[in-house]
Symmetry: C2
Subunit: 391 residues, 2 copies
C-alpha cells in the first residue's frame, strides 16, 4: 500500500491524496460503503463499481459467523467470493463483539463471546483477528482494539487505551501476509489527553495507517468533533487517517475539514432502506404523502441512476407497495450522493475552495435536530445489539 498527500487545504486540515492498494488506487478523502456480509445491502458488486466506488468495508465478525471463513477461503478470498475487484478494508470484528455479541468476557488475552445468531461460543484474540482478516484477504486490515462506551469512567477508558496498544503490538507480530496492510486504532473516548497519548504511542509503532475509533456511539456531535481534533495533530502526517463508523453528509464535511482521509458508515444505506434520502437541502422521507404525486426526481438535477430514470412518485409507490426495488433505488441514490460529496470536496481542496464549499454545503444542508438524532442513534444501537441488521 502507498499513500500520498497531494494537496493540503490552507484554511483547515483538509487534504487530498491517493491511496494505492493491490486492487487499484483510490482518491482520498474517500467514503467506503459497508458490505457487512459480503454485499452492500441490495447492491451487486457491479452496482457498487458503477456508482464510482473503488473500495468498500466488510465486517469480519459477520463473515466469520456467516458463511464462515472456510467458505470464503475455499472461494479464494473475499474479493472472489463477492466478485469485487476493488479494494477491501476489513474491520477486526472487535466493534461487533463489543456491540452485538452477548455474554462477552474480556481478558488480557482476548475476548470470548456468544454469536448473536445462534448463541454459539467463540474466541477472538489479536492474533486471531489478524489471521481471520488474512484469510479474508482484504487490502487493509484493522487491529483488534478494546472499544469502551464513550461515557465510561476515565480509568476504564485509560485501561482500554493501554490494552488497545498492547493488542496492536501483538497484531503487528502476528501479521504474516505481506500484501495486506494493518491499521492501528486510537481510543480515548472524550478525554483529549488520552486521545493524544493513544495516538502518540501507536504512531511510535509506525503503522501504515491510523483509525480513530470509539466514536459515533451515541455521543453528542460536538464531542465527536472534539475527539477528532484531539487526535489528528498527533498522527503521522504522511499516513492515512480513518474515522470509523462516521458517515452522515454533514459529518463527512466536518471530518474532512479536520484532516480525515477515509470514512465508512452504514448510515447512508440503512436510512435509505427506511425511505430517507439525501438531498442538497437535507434528508427527505420519500414515504411522505406529498411525494406520491411528485413527478420530479427525488433530487431534481441529481445524476444518479435512480434520479435519471425515476420520479419521486414512483419511488413513493415502490415503498408503499413494499416492492424490493424500492430499497435498491434509495440505496443507489444515497451512495451516489455521498460519493459525489467526497469528489466535490476533493475538487474543492485542489482548487483552494474548500472553506467556501464547506460553508455553502453546511448552510444549505438541514441536519437532523441533535436531540432527535441522538434518540434515533441510541434506538438503533439498542436494536442492533438485540438483533442486528447491519452495523
Amino acid at each position: 500500500m502507498s499513500f500520498t498527500v497531494l494537496c493540503q487545504d490552507g484554511g483547515s486540515r483538509a487534504r487530498g491524496g491517493e491511496l494505492g492498494t493491490r486492487h487499484g488506487t483510490v482518491a482520498t478523502p474517500v467514503f467506503l460503503p459497508v458490505a457487512s456480509k459480503g454485499t452492500v445491502k441490495t447492491l451487486s458488486s457491479a452496482d457498487v463499481t458503477e456508482l464510482g466506488f473503488g473500495m468498500l468495508l466488510a465486517n469480519t465478525y459477520h463473515l466469520y459467523l456467516q458463511p464462515g471463513l472456510a467458505v470464503i477461503e475455499k472461494a479464494g478470498g473475499l474479493h472472489r467470493f463477492m466478485a469485487w475487484d476493488g479494494a477491501i478494508l476489513t474491520d477486526s470484528g472487535g466493534y461487533q463483539v463489543f456491540s452485538l455479541a452477548s455474554l462477552r468476557k474480556v481478558d488480557e488475552e482476548g475476548v470470548t463471546f456468544r454469536s448473536h445468531i445462534d448463541g454459539s461460543e467463540h474466541r477472538l484474540t489479536p492474533e486471531l483477528a489478524v489471521a481471520f482478516q488474512e484469510t479474508l484477504g482484504s487490502d487493509i486490515a484493522m487491529v483488534l482494539d478494546e472499544c469502551p462506551p464513550f461515557d465510561g469512567r476515565r480509568d476504564a477508558i485509560e485501561a482500554a487505551c493501554e490494552r488497545t496498544l498492547r493488542w496492536a503490538e501483538r497484531c503487528l507480530k502476528a501479521k504474516k501476509r505481506a500484501d495486506q496492510d494493518l491499521f492501528a486504532i486510537v481510543q480515548g473516548a472524550g478525554f483529549a489527553d488520552l486521545r493524544r497519548h493513544s495516538a502518540e504511542q501507536l504512531a511510535a509503532l509506525d503503522f501504515p495507517g491510523y483509525a480513530i475509533g470509539g466514536l459515533s456511539l451515541g455521543e453528542p456531535k460536538a464531542a465527536t468533533l472534539a475527539a477528532i481534533e484531539a487526535t489528528v495533530p498527533f498522527l503521522p502526517a504522511g499516513r492515512p487517517r480513518y474515522l470509523m463508523g462516521v458517515g452522515s453528509p454533514e459529518d463527512l464535511v466536518e471530518g474532512v475539514a479536520r484532516g480525515i482521509d477515509i470514512f465508512d458508515c452504514a448510515l447512508p444505506t440503512r436510512v435509505a432502506r427506511n425511505g430517507s434520502l439525501f438531498t442538497a437541502t437535507g434528508r427527505v422521507n420519500i414515504r411522505n404523502a406529498g411525494f406520491g404525486q411528485d413527478m420530479r426526481p427525488v433530487e431534481p438535477g441529481c445524476d444518479c441512476p435512480t434520479c435519471r430514470s425515476y420520479s419521486a412518485a414512483y419511488l413513493h409507490h415502490l415503498f408503499d407497495a413494499r416492492e424490493l426495488l424500492a430499497y435498491r433505488l434509495a440505496t443507489v441514490h444515497n451512495l451516489f450522493f455521498v460519493n459525489r460529496l467526497m469528489r466535490e470536496m476533493r475538487q474543492a481542496i485542489v482548487a483552494g475552495d474548500f472553506a467556501a464549499f464547506r460553508k455553502e454545503f453546511l448552510g444549505r444542508y438541514r441536519t437532523t435536530d441533535e436531540p432527535v438524532r441522538l434518540a434515533q442513534k441510541r434506538k438503533w444501537l439498542r436494536k442492533a445489539a438485540s438483533g442486528p441488521e447491519d452495523t
Copy 2:
C-alpha cells in the same frame, strides 16, 4: 400493431414470428416477465432490458389500487412511470378480481368487488377495463372476461363463455385509443366443444390477437394441454396467440409446440425469491446445504449476470443471511433462463430442429412431480387469495 408469422415448424404447431408494437418489435414465441405493480419484482426496468426482454406484462388491478390510475396518468402513462421503453401488455384486471378480491358480485353489467388491500368497494365493467388500460397506455390491452373455476359445472362454464363474448363486444365498442390493440380471451375450461365455440365466436369479431384464459388454475397439466389443443386450431392463423399465466420451462416448450406465441407468468420470478433456480436438468433449491460449499455457478456454463459473477455458495450465503441481493440475483438467473429458452426455441423452429430440441429439453429437464406441483399451485392460489404478493 402488426404480427407476421415468419416460419412454421413441420412437425408441430410451433411457429416463429414478429410482433410489431409502437415500442419496438418483439420476436415470437416470447415470454413476458410480470411487473404486477410497475416493477418486475427486485428488478429495475434497465435490468429487464439488459436481460433481453422487449415486452412485459403489468396488472391493471394492482396498479388501479396502488398507486391509482391518476398518478400514472399524471406521469404520462405507465411506460414513463416505470421508465420502460419496451412494449407493455396489460391484463384487464378481471383475473385478479376473480382470484384476489373479496365480496365479489358479478352481474351482466360488470363486477363489484372489495380491494384486497383496504376493503374499499370498486366496480369493474368491460368499458371501465378498456378505459383503465387506455389510461395506463399499454401497447396491448385485454378484454374483461369472466374467468370461472376450471372444475366448474358445464352450464356455469357455458354461461361464462357467453358473457365473455358479450363483454368482448362491449370492450371493442368502448375502445378509443388507436395506438393500443385489444386482445380477446377464449374461455371454456376443460370442455373442448365450449373452447372451440368460444374461439370461433371471438374469431368472428376480428380481434388483432387472442388469448387462452381460464388455465393454470390448479388443473392437471394434461388438462391444460388438452384445452390448448382444443382452442388453437379455431383461432385465426395470422393472429398472435397468447397463453395467460403459463410459464414453467416445460410448459413453455409444450405451449410453443401447440402454437402459442406469447406467454406470461410470475412463476419464474416467484420461485426465484424462494431460492428455486432453473437449470438444464430441472429446478434446484439454492438453500439446500450442499450449495453452501459449491464454488461453481448455480448452473455451470450459464451466461447470465448472476452465474457470470457469483458462485452457488455466494447465492446460498445471501439466502441464508436474508440479504436482499439474493432475491434479485435469483430472479435474474431464472428470467435469463426463460428468455434463452424462448430464443433457442425460435432458433430451432427456424432451423427446422424444433422436434429434436423439444425432445432433448424435456428429456433433460426433470419436472416437479405432478401431485407435488398441484399441491404447491393450490397452496399458492389460496395464499394469493388471502393476501397476494404477485400473480
